[in-house]
Structure formats: C-alpha cells, structure tokens
C-alpha cells in the first residue's frame, strides 16, 4: 500500500470491481502483503469494509477506531501461513501439518477458558502443490474431528463477535 499514489482511489476501485463481480460488496479486507500505512484503515472504513485480517495482535477479534466507522481486526496470523512457512522459511512439505497441530494443541487447551480462533492461510501456488496438499488436508481433518471445533469464514466470525459486543 506504501507505493500507491492515491490509496483511497485504489481501495475504492478494488471494492467496486469485487462488488460488481460478486453482486454484493466485500465486508473484509486483506492488504497486499498485509501492508497498511497510518491512513489505510480510515480509507477502508469509508469504503464500507467492516473487518481486516492484516493485524495479528490478538487471539480474539478486537475493534479499531477509524475516522469513519470502527473496523474489526479478526485474529489472523502469519505463522500458519504457507507463504511464510514455505516461500520465506523454506520448510519441508509437511510443516503445515506439524505446525497447525502444534498450534492447535495449545489453543485447544486454552479454549477451555475462553474461545480461540485459529486462522490457516493458503495460496494456490503453494498449498495447491501435489506434494503439500495432503498435509494440509490431514491437518484440517484432524482438528475438525475434535469435539467443539468448527470451521467458519470471516463474516461468520465477524457477525458472532458483533453479536457478543451488543
């Protein structure tokens, strides 16, 4: 986002293109490379964005002040993330499985006290490779087989959190 001459115009154009394609406006935003400047959130809020995945500062959704409406930061992470793991840290193919399970076992114990959310980030040119896909699949299979665990999308998490705040 740092190299754009007119950040607001690019955000508005992106939202307009996706709205036309999808038939309704997007409610969430992930910046390119998760980048933001000090003003980005204000532009996003003005464009109707309700949540972001760019901030990884908590285990729970949190509400961020903007110059327009508040924006929720959902608990994304840069650790269960195939670009970080595979393209930057150069780990073997099964690292996604092993790291997801390690992360999960800690969060699952802690989730007895308070709800936990565990994001898993996939890119087509990494997780979609034949030598990686089965490791990704068995990670999802194993965590979703445990009692009290479900897979939700961002909007479902957002709407649940907003319901908790009222």
């Amino acid at each position: 986002m740092h190299k754009l001459d007119d950040q607001k115009a690019v955000i508005d154009k992106s939202v307009a293109i996706i709205s036309k394609f999808w038939g309704k406006p997007p409610r969430g935003w992930f910046g390119p490379g998760l980048t933001q400047t000090f003003d980005t959130l204000d532009h996003l809020s003005a464009a109707g964005i309700e949540y972001i995945g760019d901030w990884v500062l908590d285990d729970e959704p949190v509400t961020l002040k903007t110059t327009h409406k508040p924006v929720v930061a959902l608990p994304y992470n840069f650790e269960l993330h195939d670009i970080v793991m595979m393209a930057l840290q150069n780990h073997p193919s099964d690292q996604m499985y092993r790291r997801v399970m390690d992360q999960f076992e800690c969060l699952y114990v802690e989730s007895a006290e308070r709800p936990k959310i565990m994001a898993v980030a996939m890119h087509c040119y990494l997780s979609g490779m034949p030598h990686r896909i089965n490791h990704v699949r068995r990670a999802f299979e194993e965590v979703l087989s445990r009692p009290g665990v479900a897979a939700w999308d961002g909007v479902k998490i957002l709407d649940w959190y907003k319901g908790q705040m009222t």
Binding site: R114, I117, A119
Partner: protein, 113 residues
Amino acid sequence: MHPRERIPYSAIDNRKPLKLPDGLRLIVWPVLALEEWDMARPMARMVITPPQGQPMLPDHPNWSWHEYGMRVGFWRIKRMLDGLKINPTVTLNARVARPIRPSPKPAPTPAGN
C-alpha cells in the same frame, strides 16, 4: 493514525471471555488467497531466482509458477475443501475479478467472506 490511537493496550487474561454458540470452543478460519500477478512488474514472490541473481522483467518463470496455482492448484484446494465441507474465506486481488480470463465454473465464493 498510529495503532495506539486506534486501540488501547488490553491484556487478554483481564477480559471477560467471549462465548461461542452450540458448545463450540475453537473456530478454525481457513483463508484461501487468489492472486493475479502483473507481468509488467516484479513478481510478488519468487520460487526461482534468475541466473546471476539479477531480477529481470518480464519474469516468465515466476509468473508461470503463480499461474499454475490458478490453473491447477486452486482446483485441487477446492476439491479438498469441498470434501471437508469447509467454506473458506476467499481473498483475492481485484484483478482476479476482472474479465481477463474465462470465468471459472463453478465460480468460487469470492472476496470478503
């Protein structure tokens, strides 16, 4: 605005716990990114670096690597997620939503979910 102006510090253990419905305790949030890289610019990621380490444009090898993801990898991931009955969040560059390629059928649920 500085992040500290947007949100004050808060220690998680000092907060009242949120409550999930239906006996749930942990939510897995799968996020699948769809990307269209601009051939005119350096590629977002490089799986292979050019000889002598000098970035060169156009970068065919790395562009084709990402294109494999869209032509093949996406559909492999979609089959996996469908098999697990997972509806992921799909993030995409707005470029992916432009009519520069035949629209994939069946179309994925796009952006922002």
